[in-house]
């Protein structure tokens, strides 16, 4: 069994297990993969200014940043992407890059740079969760880090202000949300019926935007028009994060058994196809009865595989 894992993250509010997008990604992935995490919120501790969250501790080693934490969990055999094909894995990488380039700057701006949101929502929340005297420093530290990241990555020259890039950031983010909505369509999760790491990333970035009570946000209004994304967030919250709900079908199946089941399924699909081909080919029509028998026996032969 894997060593016990402990996650340090920001606490939760507004129906969410955590208000920080990166922490949400890790929490969601842990639920999807069936990993048992002890969650230790850093609220009201001095870690609010010293630690980089999210931070995973296991067996003496420490890992930060969502991508590295997810890789670490995969190595511990908590893999929610097991059933994805190679192309779907490539798609996951591409969509995660899209989220980070287009949606994350707008999230940073909405939470930390937009004056009204910062004064009415973000600063009071983070200040109330930090011990005295840190409550004076923590929000402004995080805000200046967010602003400098925005300017360095989005502004064309070091002398550009934030106003010039605001319009572009928000139009990029709206386009990104539209693209995600098109990709999700009407299915429950992005790849079939089980959630994967892409679902964790989308949930981590979209859920705070959906649930946080902003005084005014055009991005949040845009998101509310995309019904399938809102439904996706609510589904994930209800299925995985509600108190007392049993984790659905996340039994830790042996990896070999899963692989075997996949192989047998693929073989039986191939055999069915062969069957159909043989039945529809013209020269074999007179011998149809013989073929049915032989097809039936070949199926029987494959099951003990």
């Amino acid at each position: 069994m894997a060593a016990p894992m402990e996650l340090r993250c920001w606490g939760g509010d507004w129906d969410l297990p955590s208000v920080d997008p990166e922490c949400l990604i890790v929490l969601a992935y842990a639920k999807f993969a069936g990993a048992d995490l002890t969650v230790k919120p850093i609220d009201w501790t001095w870690k609010t200014i010293t630690a980089t969250v999210p931070e995973l501790r296991s067996d003496g080693s420490t890992v930060t940043e969502p991508t590295k934490i997810l890789n670490f969990m995969r190595k511990q055999r908590f893999n929610a992407d097991y059933e994805l094909s190679a192309k779907q894995g490539a798609d996951t990488m591409a969509y995660i890059a899209l989220l980070e380039e287009k949606l994350r700057p707008a999230l940073l701006h909405t939470f930390w740079v937009d004056a009204e949101n910062y004064a009415d929502l973000t600063r009071p929340w983070f200040a109330s969760r930090s011990p005295f005297p840190l409550n004076f420093f923590v929000p402004s530290c995080l805000a200046s880090a967010g602003l400098s990241r925005l300017l360095l990555t989005k502004a064309e020259s070091p002398l550009c202000g934030v106003k010039e890039v605001e319009g572009k950031i928000y139009s990029d983010a709206k386009e990104c949300l539209n693209l995600l909505s098109h990709r999700l369509g009407s299915s429950h999760y992005f790849f079939g019926s089980m959630p994967t790491s892409l679902d964790a990333f989308v949930f981590g970035y979209v859920a705070p935007l959906h649930k946080a009570p902003f005084p005014s946000s055009r991005l949040q209004q845009h998101l509310k028009q995309l019904a399938n994304l809102c439904h996706f967030c609510n589904t994930v919250l209800k299925t995985f994060f509600e108190e007392g709900s049993p984790p659905p079908a996340q039994e830790t199946v042996d990896a070999n058994l899963q692989k075997l089941t996949q192989l047998v399924n693929k073989e039986s699909i191939l055999i069915e196809k062969m069957d159909d081909n043989l039945r529809s080919s013209p020269q074999h029509r007179p011998h149809r009865k013989n073929h049915k028998v032989s097809a039936g026996s070949s199926e029987r032969n494959s099951t003990p595989a």
Binding site: G89, A90, M93, A94, Y95, E101, S171, L179, H182
Partner: protein
């Protein structure tokens, strides 16, 4: 460009068809200057834009000028001069051609368009950042190749000041996005992963979205061509990309289909020094 200006340009662009005398301007292709472009991380953009315009089937003349950067409205190369409008950078050029009615991604449905945009971001995120890192944050490459090239057109002391300023800017940006702590090996690993994702998406198809090339093909071609034809202190990056055979044949195919005709057409013009530039063959 602000959003209002972009919309205005699109409206004007939609009014007239594509003229015959459109020109693409880029800086000189002399031995020194071609490599200088790479340190401004825009060398792949001229090739990308050319590839894109050729894929649309739009005739465009190539013109190399030393002061191309100053002629451009936004300071970035390349830019195209079409009719009485000047448009710079790949993104606006794509929108401009769309407004004229030529678009490569019309045949895609919404889901495919989402995929295309996602892959374009992946390429921008990974390959572009890796290229910048290797040129400016790796001390050996920066000292031997990048700084001398970047400062070559300027005289002392401007060359020192500009080169170090650019390096400082790039390192700050790497710090902000978390790449500062990465080692060169990890960067090569990231590039390999990105190429693997692209290779898996491409599979055995001729282009990323089966039979027709799109902006994504032009973008990937631009980046991979630059990586494969640039000389650096060591060839590991080029070798890693070459290990993905379908990506290599993809680049060769685009070069053959779209750039060989230009070689044949413009044997006499001095502006076609690009044809004598690096090639994959």
């Amino acid at each position: 460009m602000s959003l209002a200006a972009e919309a205005f340009v699109s409206q004007i662009a939609a009014a007239e068809p594509w003229p015959e005398n459109a020109t693409l301007y880029q800086p000189l292709n002399g031995k020194n200057h071609f490599f200088m472009l790479i340190s401004c991380h825009v060398s792949y953009v001229p090739i990308m834009s050319q590839a894109y315009l050729k894929m649309c089937g739009l005739p465009v003349h190539l013109c190399c000028r030393a002061n191309a950067e100053y002629m451009s409205p936004s300071g970035k190369v390349p830019f195209i001069h079409v009719g009485n409008q000047v448009v710079s950078e790949l993104g606006p050029i794509v929108q401009f051609t769309k407004a004229k009615g030529h678009s490569l991604s019309d045949g895609l449905d919404d889901v495919q368009r989402a995929e295309m945009k996602a892959y374009m971001e992946l390429v921008n995120n990974m390959l572009l950042t890796a290229e910048l890192y290797i040129q400016w944050c790796d001390n050996a490459t920066a000292a031997e190749i990048t700084r001398p090239r970047y400062s070559s057109p300027y005289s002392w002391p401007l060359n020192y000041i500009l080169a170090y300023q650019k390096q400082w800017e790039v390192r700050r940006k790497m710090n902000a996005i978390g790449w500062a702590g990465k080692s060169l090996e990890q960067v090569y690993e990231d590039v390999s992963q990105c190429c693997q994702a692209l290779s898996q998406r491409l599979g055995t198809q001729p282009y990323f979205f089966n039979k027709q090339p799109t902006e994504l093909d032009a973008l990937v071609f631009g980046h991979l061509f630059t990586i494969l034809t640039t000389r650096l202190t060591n060839d590991e990056l080029g070798e890693r990309v070459k290990s993905f055979t379908n990506l290599l044949s993809f680049c060769r195919r685009i070069e053959q289909n779209y750039f060989e005709e230009q070689d044949r057409d413009s044997q006499s013009g001095a502006s076609s020094r690009h044809s004598k530039g690096p090639s994959l063959m």
